[in-house]
């Protein structure tokens, strides 16, 4: 086995292990931290694939944004430090079935399709290229979704500023 593969299996084991811990721990805050390490593990997988931009986006969006949001809502929740009650067996069974089904479904897909390894690197993900693609109007361009999302985010930010400014007017 090559070192590259060993690293892959280590990262995969880390992602799976912390994923299992995230759903099985009975402390809500620990659960959030395990979720965080799952997401970081996925970012590590992207780094392993040399997709640095995607990896950084993964960290910014999920770690810096969503997990912090989750942790904040845990902080603001009453009695969130207590252990959660044990889950009843009748709720465990359907969950186990769902997991089994999903596992069987994925395994089925994996076994019935062959994944050919291409010798050439199939994607060029330099930031220049991503930027150009984002703003291309022609084939393979993402100008419409990009602009829609950027308008949404700008509106959200301006909204924040307007709300912040308004309170001050009332004070005066």
């Amino acid at each position: 086995m090559e070192i590259r593969e060993i690293i892959f299996y280590i990262i995969a084991a880390f992602v799976l292990g912390s994923g299992i811990m995230a759903v099985s721990t009975r402390k809500i805050f620990r659960s959030a931290i395990w979720l965080l390490s799952t997401l970081i593990g996925i970012a590590a997988l992207y780094f392993w694939m040399d997709l640095e931009f995607i990896a950084a986006v993964q960290i910014v969006v999920y770690v810096g944004g969503i997990v912090v949001l989750i942790i904040f809502s845990i902080f603001l929740t009453h009695k969130s430090g207590d252990e959660m009650p044990k889950i009843a067996i009748k709720r465990k069974l359907p969950a186990a079935f769902a997991v089994l089904f999903a596992f069987a479904f994925t395994a089925n897909l994996l076994l019935h399709n062959s994944f050919a390894l291409s010798a050439t690197k199939s994607f060029d993900l330099s930031v220049d290229r991503i930027g150009t693609l984002m703003l291309t109007t022609g084939d393979g361009g993402y100008i419409l979704p990009f602009e829609a999302v950027s308008m949404l985010l700008l509106a959200a930010m301006v909204g924040c500023i307007v709300i912040a400014m308004k309170i001050k007017k009332e004070e005066q």
């Binding site: 931290i33 931009f53 810096g64 912090v68 902080f75 930010m157 500023i161």
Partner: protein, 358 residues
């Protein structure tokens, strides 16, 4: 000529000559890790000493002056004391997270060090998305603070952690905009490209007033992001008895303390790279002779000189301004810094497109 670039290349060539590729990579990884840890320890000692001296002189005091000449061994003695101390842990903490939190903060600081160009051709990882990588990883460090605040099982710690969370999440925006304005001018995220684009003058001189505004906003935002006074709401000794590290002692506390100084070093290094050209010597346009003279000063000295100057400025802030209240802090971000940096970014983009910079 002896430079960091030559040393590292020579070492690599020598190692490659005597063994195969895999052990070379492993040995080099170990060496890099050792070098990073050594740098951390040295920085911790130097910066704490520097902070105490700067604070003292600004407050018309002498500062540490007993341990060694001018008190230079004071921080070493302090570190020794912290190492010898018992690693006390309160009874009702979440033990796993309590132990993990200082390491999260520390590892994050180590990760951000990777794309930092310390000297010409001397960098741990020449990553293509340098600046973006730094922004991304630095958002993890807030998790360490939140974790410490929660695990301590103390209401002051929790309050400190929440303040720090709100603060870092909001100030990341204006820091990001300030960074983006330089990215807009250079058209690259790679820290080396950004430095090379300052061959004929640093951005702070080339980019007119908008870059100055961006620089000021960057300095304010990173001071807030590193939780330093006047934005040290997370610690706030006088109201939260130490905030998120109230329950920490001994070496665990020292790790938080060290991480704070490492973070200052890193953000100042990034600031120096973006606005003052990193290791690029002081060049003026096409004055070949002058530029050539400046090149005689080694690039590492330029980098560390600029970085330490910015660190001094941040320390200067700390010992001049009183602490902000949490609502004033958020007002400053959302009512002043963010709108101004949005317009400033627009202005800089226009400058970059029209090529109005020098």
């Amino acid at each position: 000529m002896l430079s960091f670039e030559n040393i590292s290349h020579g070492l690599h060539n020598w190692l490659s000559a005597i063994m195969s590729e895999t052990p070379v990579v492993l040995i080099e990884l170990t060496l890099v890790a050792l070098a990073a840890i050594t740098l951390f320890a040295a920085l911790g000692l130097i910066l704490v000493y520097m902070e105490r001296k700067v604070a003292a002189v600004i407050q018309i005091r002498k500062g540490p002056n007993r341990v060694g000449p001018m008190g230079i061994f004071q921080t070493a003695a302090d570190t020794l004391k912290l190492v010898m101390k018992e690693n006390f842990m309160p009874d009702s903490v979440d033990k796993f997270l309590y132990k993990l939190a200082p390491f999260v903060v520390m590892i994050t600081a180590m990760l951000i060090l990777a794309p930092m160009p310390f000297a010409q051709g001397f960098q741990i990882w020449n990553i293509n998305i340098g600046v973006f990588y730094v922004t991304a990883i630095s958002s993890i460090s807030v998790i360490g603070v939140l974790m410490a605040g929660w695990a301590s099982n103390n209401k002051y710690s929790l309050l400190g952690a929440m303040r720090s969370g709100a603060q870092i999440v909001s100030y990341e925006l204006s820091a990001g905009f300030a960074i983006l304005s330089i990215v807009a001018l250079t058209g690259s995220l790679n820290l080396n490209d950004i430095i090379l684009s300052q061959q004929d003058g640093w951005w702070i001189f080339k980019g007119h007033i908008p870059v100055w505004i961006a620089f000021v906003i960057f300095m304010i935002a990173v001071t807030a992001e590193t939780n330093r006074a006047p934005f040290d709401m997370a610690e706030a000794e006088s109201e939260l008895t130490g905030g998120f590290h109230t329950e920490y002692g001994g070496m665990r506390f020292a790790l938080f303390f060290l991480a704070e100084y490492i973070n200052i070093f890193i953000v100042c290094g990034i600031g120096a790279t973006l606005f003052f050209g990193g290791w690029m010597p002081f060049h003026i346009g096409h004055w070949e002779g002058f530029n050539h003279v400046m090149d005689y000063i080694p690039s590492s000295i330029w980098f560390f000189g600029k970085t330490f100057f910015l660190i001094f400025v941040i320390m200067w802030f700390r010992w001049t301004f009183p602490r902000l209240r949490i609502d004033q802090l958020l007002n400053l971000e959302w009512k002043y810094l963010l709108p101004i940096s949005l317009f400033n970014l627009l202005l800089i983009t226009v400058i970059a497109i029209k090529g109005w910079h020098f």
